[in-house]
Protein backbone atom coordinates (compact mmCIF):
# COMPACT_ATOMS: atom_id res chain seq x y z
CA UNK A 1 0.00 0.00 0.00
CA UNK A 2 1.56 3.27 -1.16
CA UNK A 3 1.24 6.26 1.14
CA UNK A 4 -1.27 8.93 0.15
CA UNK A 5 1.57 11.43 -0.09
CA UNK A 6 3.38 9.24 -2.57
CA UNK A 7 0.23 8.83 -4.64
CA UNK A 8 -0.37 12.56 -4.53
CA UNK A 9 3.15 13.21 -5.76
CA UNK A 10 2.55 10.70 -8.52
CA UNK A 11 -0.67 12.33 -9.66
CA UNK A 12 0.43 15.91 -9.18
CA UNK A 13 4.21 16.12 -9.67
CA UNK A 14 4.22 19.76 -8.61
CA UNK A 15 3.44 18.66 -5.03
CA UNK A 16 7.11 17.71 -4.75
CA UNK A 17 7.81 21.41 -5.00
CA UNK A 18 5.47 22.40 -2.18
CA UNK A 19 7.19 23.38 0.97
CA UNK A 20 7.05 21.14 3.96
CA UNK A 21 4.20 22.93 5.79
CA UNK A 22 1.96 23.05 2.75
CA UNK A 23 2.56 19.38 2.19
CA UNK A 24 1.68 18.58 5.80
CA UNK A 25 -1.49 20.65 5.43
CA UNK A 26 -2.64 18.72 2.37
CA UNK A 27 -1.58 15.42 3.86
CA UNK A 28 -3.75 16.15 6.91
CA UNK A 29 -6.68 16.94 4.64
CA UNK A 30 -6.09 13.85 2.52
CA UNK A 31 -5.82 11.43 5.44
CA UNK A 32 -9.04 12.80 6.96
CA UNK A 33 -10.89 12.51 3.66
CA UNK A 34 -12.28 8.97 4.16
CA UNK A 35 -13.71 10.06 7.51
CA UNK A 36 -15.02 13.30 6.06
CA UNK A 37 -16.84 11.42 3.33
CA UNK A 38 -18.27 9.13 5.99
CA UNK A 39 -19.45 12.12 8.04
CA UNK A 40 -20.96 13.80 4.99
CA UNK A 41 -24.29 11.89 5.09
CA UNK A 42 -24.54 12.82 8.77
CA UNK A 43 -24.40 16.50 7.87
CA UNK A 44 -27.07 15.97 5.23
CA UNK A 45 -29.35 14.21 7.72
CA UNK A 46 -28.73 16.95 10.29
CA UNK A 47 -29.65 19.65 7.80
CA UNK A 48 -32.76 17.76 6.70
CA UNK A 49 -33.84 17.17 10.32
CA UNK A 50 -33.29 20.82 11.22
CA UNK A 51 -35.45 21.80 8.29
CA UNK A 52 -38.29 19.44 9.16
CA UNK A 53 -38.08 20.53 12.83
CA UNK A 54 -38.82 24.07 11.72
CA UNK A 55 -35.43 25.71 12.32
CA UNK A 56 -34.57 28.60 10.05
CA UNK A 57 -31.71 28.39 7.59
CA UNK A 58 -29.71 30.97 9.55
CA UNK A 59 -30.04 29.04 12.81
CA UNK A 60 -29.02 25.77 11.13
CA UNK A 61 -25.98 27.26 9.42
CA UNK A 62 -25.14 29.25 12.55
CA UNK A 63 -25.18 26.13 14.68
CA UNK A 64 -22.97 24.19 12.30
CA UNK A 65 -20.45 27.00 11.98
CA UNK A 66 -20.30 28.05 15.63
CA UNK A 67 -20.88 24.83 17.55
CA UNK A 68 -19.37 22.41 15.03
CA UNK A 69 -20.12 19.18 16.91
CA UNK A 70 -22.25 16.56 15.18
CA UNK A 71 -23.62 14.62 18.14
CA UNK A 72 -24.34 17.77 20.16
CA UNK A 73 -26.18 19.38 17.28
CA UNK A 74 -28.35 16.31 16.73
CA UNK A 75 -29.28 16.12 20.39
CA UNK A 76 -29.93 19.85 20.56
CA UNK A 77 -32.42 19.93 17.70
CA UNK A 78 -34.12 16.79 18.96
CA UNK A 79 -34.53 18.28 22.43
CA UNK A 80 -35.54 21.61 20.93
CA UNK A 81 -38.30 19.91 18.97
CA UNK A 82 -39.50 18.27 22.19
CA UNK A 83 -39.72 21.67 23.81
CA UNK A 84 -36.91 21.03 26.31
CA UNK A 85 -35.80 24.03 28.38
CA UNK A 86 -32.61 25.81 27.33
CA UNK A 87 -30.54 25.03 30.47
CA UNK A 88 -31.26 21.30 30.10
CA UNK A 89 -30.15 21.32 26.47
CA UNK A 90 -26.97 23.19 27.35
CA UNK A 91 -26.17 20.81 30.21
CA UNK A 92 -26.76 17.77 27.99
CA UNK A 93 -24.50 19.18 25.30
CA UNK A 94 -21.83 19.84 27.90
CA UNK A 95 -21.91 16.23 29.12
CA UNK A 96 -21.71 14.88 25.58
CA UNK A 97 -18.69 17.07 24.96
CA UNK A 98 -16.72 15.71 27.87
CA UNK A 99 -15.57 13.16 25.31
CA UNK A 100 -13.76 15.91 23.43
CA UNK A 101 -12.07 16.85 26.67
CA UNK A 102 -10.54 13.38 26.80
CA UNK A 103 -9.33 13.89 23.22
CA UNK A 104 -7.87 17.25 24.07
CA UNK A 105 -6.14 15.87 27.16
CA UNK A 106 -4.76 13.02 25.07
CA UNK A 107 -3.09 15.52 22.73
CA UNK A 108 -1.87 17.85 25.50
CA UNK A 109 1.66 16.55 25.45
CA UNK A 110 1.97 17.13 21.70
CA UNK A 111 0.60 20.68 21.61
CA UNK A 112 2.45 22.00 24.66
CA UNK A 113 5.01 23.92 22.59
CA UNK A 114 2.45 25.55 20.26
CA UNK A 115 1.80 29.28 20.77
CA UNK A 116 -1.29 30.01 22.86
CA UNK A 117 -3.11 31.54 19.89
CA UNK A 118 -2.55 28.46 17.74
CA UNK A 119 -3.84 26.21 20.51
CA UNK A 120 -6.92 28.40 21.05
CA UNK A 121 -7.82 28.32 17.36
CA UNK A 122 -7.06 24.68 16.64
CA UNK A 123 -8.96 23.52 19.76
CA UNK A 124 -12.18 24.80 18.20
CA UNK A 125 -11.85 22.27 15.37
CA UNK A 126 -11.19 19.22 17.54
CA UNK A 127 -13.68 16.62 16.32
CA UNK A 128 -13.84 12.82 16.34
CA UNK A 129 -12.53 12.82 12.78
CA UNK A 130 -9.60 15.17 13.27
CA UNK A 131 -8.65 13.53 16.55
CA UNK A 132 -8.68 10.08 14.96
CA UNK A 133 -6.48 11.23 12.08
CA UNK A 134 -4.07 13.24 14.20
CA UNK A 135 -3.62 10.53 16.81
CA UNK A 136 -3.08 8.01 14.02
CA UNK A 137 -0.25 10.18 12.68
CA UNK A 138 1.24 10.53 16.16
CA UNK A 139 1.12 6.75 16.46
CA UNK A 140 2.90 6.16 13.19
CA UNK A 141 5.36 9.05 13.19
CA UNK A 142 5.75 10.24 16.80
CA UNK A 143 8.71 12.53 16.13
CA UNK A 144 7.73 14.03 12.79
CA UNK A 145 7.51 17.84 12.87
CA UNK A 146 4.71 19.95 11.39
CA UNK A 147 1.87 18.40 13.36
CA UNK A 148 0.00 21.71 13.60
CA UNK A 149 -0.11 22.05 9.80
CA UNK A 150 -1.32 18.51 9.44
CA UNK A 151 -3.96 19.23 12.10
CA UNK A 152 -4.98 22.48 10.37
CA UNK A 153 -5.44 20.71 7.04
CA UNK A 154 -7.54 18.01 8.62
CA UNK A 155 -9.60 20.52 10.62
CA UNK A 156 -10.32 23.00 7.83
CA UNK A 157 -11.40 20.25 5.48
CA UNK A 158 -13.66 18.69 8.06
CA UNK A 159 -15.13 22.11 8.86
CA UNK A 160 -15.88 23.13 5.30
CA UNK A 161 -17.37 19.76 4.41
CA UNK A 162 -19.54 19.80 7.54
CA UNK A 163 -20.89 23.25 6.69
CA UNK A 164 -21.45 22.27 3.09
CA UNK A 165 -23.24 19.03 3.99
CA UNK A 166 -25.60 20.61 6.52
CA UNK A 167 -26.53 23.37 4.09
CA UNK A 168 -27.05 20.80 1.35
CA UNK A 169 -29.17 18.69 3.70
CA UNK A 170 -31.27 21.70 4.66
CA UNK A 171 -31.91 22.48 1.01
CA UNK A 172 -32.61 18.87 0.03
CA UNK A 173 -34.66 18.25 3.16
CA UNK A 174 -37.70 20.01 1.83
CA UNK A 175 -37.52 18.07 -1.43
CA UNK A 176 -36.69 14.54 -0.33
CA UNK A 177 -39.03 13.37 2.43
CA UNK A 178 -37.83 10.65 4.79
CA UNK A 179 -34.17 11.35 4.02
CA UNK A 180 -33.29 10.64 7.63
CA UNK A 181 -34.53 7.03 7.40
CA UNK A 182 -32.06 5.98 4.73
CA UNK A 183 -29.56 4.44 7.13
CA UNK A 184 -26.89 6.93 6.15
CA UNK A 185 -25.28 6.61 9.57
CA UNK A 186 -23.73 3.28 8.60
CA UNK A 187 -20.92 5.14 6.81
CA UNK A 188 -19.80 6.65 10.07
CA UNK A 189 -19.89 3.30 11.85
CA UNK A 190 -17.72 1.46 9.33
CA UNK A 191 -15.32 4.42 9.14
CA UNK A 192 -14.78 4.32 12.89
CA UNK A 193 -14.29 0.55 12.72
CA UNK A 194 -11.59 1.16 10.11
CA UNK A 195 -9.85 3.63 12.43
CA UNK A 196 -10.02 1.69 15.68
CA UNK A 197 -9.25 -1.84 14.50
CA UNK A 198 -5.65 -1.24 13.34
CA UNK A 199 -4.94 0.37 16.72
CA UNK A 200 -5.67 -2.92 18.50
CA UNK A 201 -2.25 -4.47 18.96
CA UNK A 202 -1.61 -5.60 22.51
CA UNK A 203 -3.77 -7.76 24.72
CA UNK A 204 -4.62 -4.68 26.80
CA UNK A 205 -5.90 -2.88 23.69
CA UNK A 206 -8.26 -5.73 22.85
CA UNK A 207 -9.48 -5.96 26.41
CA UNK A 208 -10.10 -2.22 26.49
CA UNK A 209 -12.13 -2.42 23.28
CA UNK A 210 -14.11 -5.44 24.48
CA UNK A 211 -15.04 -3.78 27.75
CA UNK A 212 -16.02 -0.55 25.98
CA UNK A 213 -18.20 -2.52 23.56
CA UNK A 214 -20.03 -4.63 26.13
CA UNK A 215 -20.37 -1.94 28.77
CA UNK A 216 -21.74 0.67 26.37
CA UNK A 217 -24.45 -1.78 25.33
CA UNK A 218 -25.36 -2.55 28.93
CA UNK A 219 -25.59 1.15 29.78
CA UNK A 220 -27.10 2.50 26.56
CA UNK A 221 -30.35 3.59 28.26
CA UNK A 222 -28.63 5.70 30.90
CA UNK A 223 -29.70 9.33 30.60
CA UNK A 224 -27.89 11.85 28.38
CA UNK A 225 -25.33 9.39 27.02
CA UNK A 226 -23.77 9.04 30.46
CA UNK A 227 -23.38 5.33 29.72
CA UNK A 228 -20.99 6.23 26.91
CA UNK A 229 -18.78 8.21 29.25
CA UNK A 230 -18.98 5.61 32.02
CA UNK A 231 -18.06 2.78 29.63
CA UNK A 232 -15.15 4.74 28.18
CA UNK A 233 -13.69 5.37 31.62
CA UNK A 234 -14.23 1.77 32.68
CA UNK A 235 -12.54 0.51 29.50
CA UNK A 236 -9.62 2.90 29.99
CA UNK A 237 -9.10 1.54 33.52
CA UNK A 238 -9.15 -2.06 32.28
CA UNK A 239 -6.67 -1.31 29.51
CA UNK A 240 -4.35 0.37 31.96
CA UNK A 241 -4.50 -2.38 34.57
CA UNK A 242 -3.73 -5.04 31.96
CA UNK A 243 -0.89 -3.08 30.39
CA UNK A 244 0.70 -2.70 33.81
CA UNK A 245 0.48 -6.40 34.67
CA UNK A 246 1.75 -7.27 31.18
CA UNK A 247 5.05 -5.48 31.63
CA UNK A 248 7.69 -7.02 33.85
CA UNK A 249 9.40 -3.90 35.10
CA UNK A 250 8.49 -0.26 34.80
Amino acid sequence: MRSPLFMMGRCFPETYLMNYRTRQFWLGALETLPLILAAFPFGIVFGALANSNGLTFAITAGMSSMVFAGASQFIAITLLANGTALPVIVLTVFIINLRQMLYSANLMHHVAHWPRFVRAVLAFWLTDETFATVSDRINRHPEEPGLRWFYLGSALFMYSFWLFSTILGYTLGSQIPGLSDWGLDVAMIVALVGIVTPALKLRADWACAAVAFISSLLTFDWPQQSGLLFSSILAICVGMLLSRSGKTNE
Binding site: F68, G194, T197, V211, A235
Partner: protein, 104 residues
Protein backbone atom coordinates in the same frame (compact mmCIF):
# COMPACT_ATOMS: atom_id res chain seq x y z
CA UNK B 1 -33.72 35.11 19.38
CA UNK B 2 -33.93 32.37 21.97
CA UNK B 3 -32.34 30.01 19.46
CA UNK B 4 -29.34 32.29 18.98
CA UNK B 5 -28.91 32.30 22.74
CA UNK B 6 -28.97 28.50 22.65
CA UNK B 7 -26.28 28.48 19.95
CA UNK B 8 -24.15 30.83 22.03
CA UNK B 9 -24.32 28.61 25.11
CA UNK B 10 -23.84 25.45 23.07
CA UNK B 11 -20.77 26.97 21.42
CA UNK B 12 -19.38 27.80 24.87
CA UNK B 13 -19.90 24.35 26.39
CA UNK B 14 -18.51 22.73 23.24
CA UNK B 15 -15.44 24.92 22.98
CA UNK B 16 -14.41 24.88 26.64
CA UNK B 17 -13.84 21.11 26.98
CA UNK B 18 -11.91 21.19 23.71
CA UNK B 19 -9.72 24.10 24.74
CA UNK B 20 -9.14 23.63 28.46
CA UNK B 21 -6.55 20.82 28.27
CA UNK B 22 -4.85 22.61 25.34
CA UNK B 23 -4.65 25.78 27.44
CA UNK B 24 -3.15 23.95 30.39
CA UNK B 25 -0.65 22.01 28.27
CA UNK B 26 2.89 22.76 29.38
CA UNK B 27 1.68 24.54 32.51
CA UNK B 28 0.73 21.50 34.50
CA UNK B 29 2.31 18.09 34.34
CA UNK B 30 -0.27 15.31 34.44
CA UNK B 31 0.45 12.43 36.81
CA UNK B 32 2.06 9.57 34.91
CA UNK B 33 -0.86 7.29 35.66
CA UNK B 34 -3.29 9.73 34.09
CA UNK B 35 -1.06 10.15 31.05
CA UNK B 36 -1.01 6.41 30.50
CA UNK B 37 -4.77 6.29 30.98
CA UNK B 38 -5.20 8.84 28.20
CA UNK B 39 -3.42 6.50 25.79
CA UNK B 40 -6.52 4.33 25.86
CA UNK B 41 -8.94 7.16 25.07
CA UNK B 42 -9.18 6.59 21.30
CA UNK B 43 -9.87 2.86 21.58
CA UNK B 44 -12.28 3.16 24.52
CA UNK B 45 -14.38 6.08 23.30
CA UNK B 46 -14.55 5.17 19.63
CA UNK B 47 -15.41 1.53 20.37
CA UNK B 48 -18.21 2.60 22.70
CA UNK B 49 -19.60 4.87 19.98
CA UNK B 50 -19.41 2.06 17.41
CA UNK B 51 -21.15 -0.39 19.75
CA UNK B 52 -24.09 1.86 20.48
CA UNK B 53 -24.46 3.09 16.92
CA UNK B 54 -24.44 -0.40 15.43
CA UNK B 55 -26.23 -2.55 18.01
CA UNK B 56 -29.02 -0.20 19.06
CA UNK B 57 -31.82 0.21 16.58
CA UNK B 58 -35.03 2.08 17.28
CA UNK B 59 -33.94 2.60 20.86
CA UNK B 60 -33.41 -1.07 21.67
CA UNK B 61 -30.63 -3.64 21.58
CA UNK B 62 -30.88 -5.57 18.33
CA UNK B 63 -28.87 -8.79 17.97
CA UNK B 64 -31.01 -10.15 15.15
CA UNK B 65 -29.78 -10.86 11.64
CA UNK B 66 -31.95 -8.05 10.30
CA UNK B 67 -29.71 -5.51 12.02
CA UNK B 68 -27.83 -4.61 8.85
CA UNK B 69 -25.86 -1.88 10.60
CA UNK B 70 -24.29 -4.52 12.85
CA UNK B 71 -23.63 -6.94 9.98
CA UNK B 72 -21.96 -4.19 7.95
CA UNK B 73 -19.86 -3.26 10.98
CA UNK B 74 -18.85 -6.91 11.43
CA UNK B 75 -17.82 -7.18 7.77
CA UNK B 76 -15.85 -3.94 8.11
CA UNK B 77 -14.16 -5.28 11.24
CA UNK B 78 -13.01 -8.48 9.50
CA UNK B 79 -11.67 -6.50 6.54
CA UNK B 80 -9.89 -4.11 8.88
CA UNK B 81 -8.22 -6.96 10.79
CA UNK B 82 -6.91 -8.57 7.61
CA UNK B 83 -5.96 -5.60 5.43
CA UNK B 84 -5.67 -2.67 7.85
CA UNK B 85 -6.83 -0.31 5.13
CA UNK B 86 -9.32 2.43 6.03
CA UNK B 87 -10.72 3.09 2.58
CA UNK B 88 -11.20 -0.60 1.80
CA UNK B 89 -12.91 -1.07 5.17
CA UNK B 90 -15.40 1.72 4.45
CA UNK B 91 -16.11 0.53 0.93
CA UNK B 92 -16.72 -3.09 1.96
CA UNK B 93 -18.88 -1.98 4.89
CA UNK B 94 -21.05 0.23 2.69
CA UNK B 95 -21.32 -2.32 -0.11
CA UNK B 96 -22.30 -4.98 2.41
CA UNK B 97 -24.97 -2.72 3.93
CA UNK B 98 -26.41 -1.71 0.59
CA UNK B 99 -26.43 -5.31 -0.68
CA UNK B 100 -28.26 -6.54 2.41
CA UNK B 101 -30.81 -3.79 2.10
CA UNK B 102 -31.50 -4.32 -1.56
CA UNK B 103 -31.23 -8.09 -1.82
CA UNK B 104 -32.50 -9.53 1.45
Amino acid sequence: MNEWLLIFFMAAVTYLPRYLPFALAGKIRLPQTLERALDYVPIAVLTAIIAQASMIRQGELDFSLTNYHALAALAAFLVAIIWRNLLLTIVVGLVCFTALRLLV
